[in-house]
Symmetry: C2
Subunit: 330 residues, 2 copies
DNA sequence: GTGAAAGCGCTAACAG
DNA sequence: CTGTTAGCGCTTTCAC
């Protein structure tokens, strides 16, 4: 706004074109000129206007990410790594929080699409058709979701679920409850896709409860229902829900894992401080964020991005909320 | 990029100016014309280019926030409420994570300043002079920090600390450790500003340890030092650190609060699920975020913003990590 | 290697 | 109430 390219040009006694080149393609300017221009740039503290530049190049120098809940450490973990990678590539990051509302989510995408060179979408909520539609607006990369023809970075939920089931089965559990996340959530489907066959395979009966919102507060009613279902283990959709359930169980005097085993999903840092520390599945957040940024940027520059969808591995982390089934053979 | 204002103008058989007005100042266009234009806008899916608009108006329609660590729920809690408020006012939000590094922080501010109408800075790290300098670049609002002449929203750390001290003193503690946050952190100073006089007043001896980085992992060495210091209570700089310390203490078989009391600061959601649930001080994050956005926006539109700095109250939340001093009179 | 000039898409006077 | 016109700050042909 204050110091423009003309100020620099005048002071360096060159044309604005030369200033522009000195900054953008240093090798198309003589060394002497470049040094002089750069010195003036430094002296005046000149920074090109992103808006003006954007108007011409069509690039904004930003990427956007929209998530369902910034209160969930899973998404902020992703955001942190996205921000870091974006910075490395010289991009700013715009963030939108839809508060789990599909309509808001869509509006956010439509708005941010114009303000960013690419958009990362963590959207359990929107339907496939709409996503395909949205993908026409701007380079789009999905996180933890697959939609035909759209680039995505996913983490292996089904595999993680299989590990949980095997773990529980090995501990002698035969009747467990699964606390569903949002019904429309892709991640929830994936959990089920891993859970059901694995349970059948191990002869585990699964009582499905919910759906519940993936919020800490919703862990309480979920825990109550699980208790009423007469199971020996509870598999929660994610850590946040498991943590909420744990708090409720303690409130009701239920011994975890003595009377009831509990598992989460995500391995938030705080899973380690719960009482007791939570058995859960670790998600490769840092890698996923980095990967998704590269994916959307490649797409934005029409690079042949390589694989359209990449699946990153997950890993069971056994802590202290799972134990042998009560009254079992020990 | 694709459908421009001219396309709309042509299709609606009006001039581009009319389209612009129909969108921006609906009351300066006849109802009939407006409806026709709006219909075409709808039909074509036209959205004004933020870059072009920005170039003229000088407004970007975004506000930026830079924080030291997106992995800390304290900052993401703030971010969530900032995002919500920004959306209400029609602004996008840019986020920068400095990873606790002052140099990165400053670079982030300088970059984002050009891309936003205002900037919220959570900067424990940068020195006052630099902040004053930065404030010349763009409307700036500080969060949890006071610098002369600059708008700020702060939460009453000192007051919270006083409450903790009074609580601990009432439980019979006489020798406590304080785990310092970053030495240069304004919040840490504020904690001390509340702590020292209150401790003196209550006849409490304080062993100051650290500084430590306000990260979960740094809770472990902090806990070890506190243990070596032979105190009966440990006051951590914040919850994240307290949670890390708690994990370490459990690892070492120390009974909290039987042998040692522990307090945090911030009241993150996860403070309630720790083992045991953490006694801490609740910070008015939601209100602070909202307030800061309004402050910076008022500043950006040269409104007489009212109070330059607003202090929001904090509140002690007693949970289960504090108890009577061991061997006390019970 | 450098300069002049033409816009990028839009808003804001200024006329009518 | 509506149209014409002049840029916002910059990059990018196109000449020289």
């Amino acid at each position: 706004m204050r110091v423009t390219i003309r100020d620099v040009a005048r002071r360096a006694e060159v044309s604005v074109a030369t200033v522009s080149r000195a900054l953008g393609s240093p090798d198309r300017v003589s060394e002497a000129t470049r040094d002089r221009v750069l010195a003036v740039v430094q002296e005046l503290g000149y920074r090109p206007s992103p808006a003006a530049r954007s108007l011409i190049t069509g690039k904004t120098g930003a990427i956007a990410i929209v998530v369902p809940d910034l209160g969930n450490p899973f998404f902020t973990g992703l955001l942190k790594s996205v921000q870091a990678r974006a910075r490395e590539t010289g991009h700013a990051v715009l963030v939108g929080d839809s508060d789990e509302d599909p309509a808001t989510e869509q509006e956010l995408v439509r708005t941010l699409a114009k303000q960013a060179d690419g958009l990362l979408l963590c959207s359990p909520g929107i339907d496939d058709a709409t996503i395909t539609d949205l993908a026409g607006l701007t380079p789009l990369a999905l996180l933890n979701r697959r939609v035909a023809g759209i680039g995505a970075t996913v983490m292996d939920s089904a595999g993680g679920m299989r590990e949980i089931v095997a773990h529980l089965a090995a501990l002698g559990h035969r009747r467990c409850a699964y606390l569903n996340g949002p019904a429309s959530s892709w991640s929830n489907h994936e959990r089920l896709r891993g859970l059901r066959p694995a349970a059948a395979h191990h002869g585990l009966e699964i009582v499905e409860l919910g759906p519940f919102a993936p919020r800490y507060e919703d862990g309480a009613p979920a825990a109550d229902q699980a208790l009423a279902a007469g199971v020996t283990a509870v598999l929660a959709y994610n850590d946040v829900m498991a943590l909420g359930a744990l708090a409720r169980l303690r409130e009701r005097g239920v011994d975890v894992p003595g009377e009831l085993s509990v598992t989460g999903f995500d391995d938030l840092v705080y899973a380690a401080v719960s009482a007791p520390p939570l058995t859960t599945v670790a998600m490769p957040l840092a890698e996923a964020g980095r990967h998704a940024v590269d994916l959307v940027l490649a797409h934005a520059s029409a690079d042949p991005a390589g694989r359209l969808v990449t699946e990153l591995p997950t890993r069971l982390v056994v802590r202290a909320t799972t134990a042998r089934v009560p009254g079992g053979l020990g």
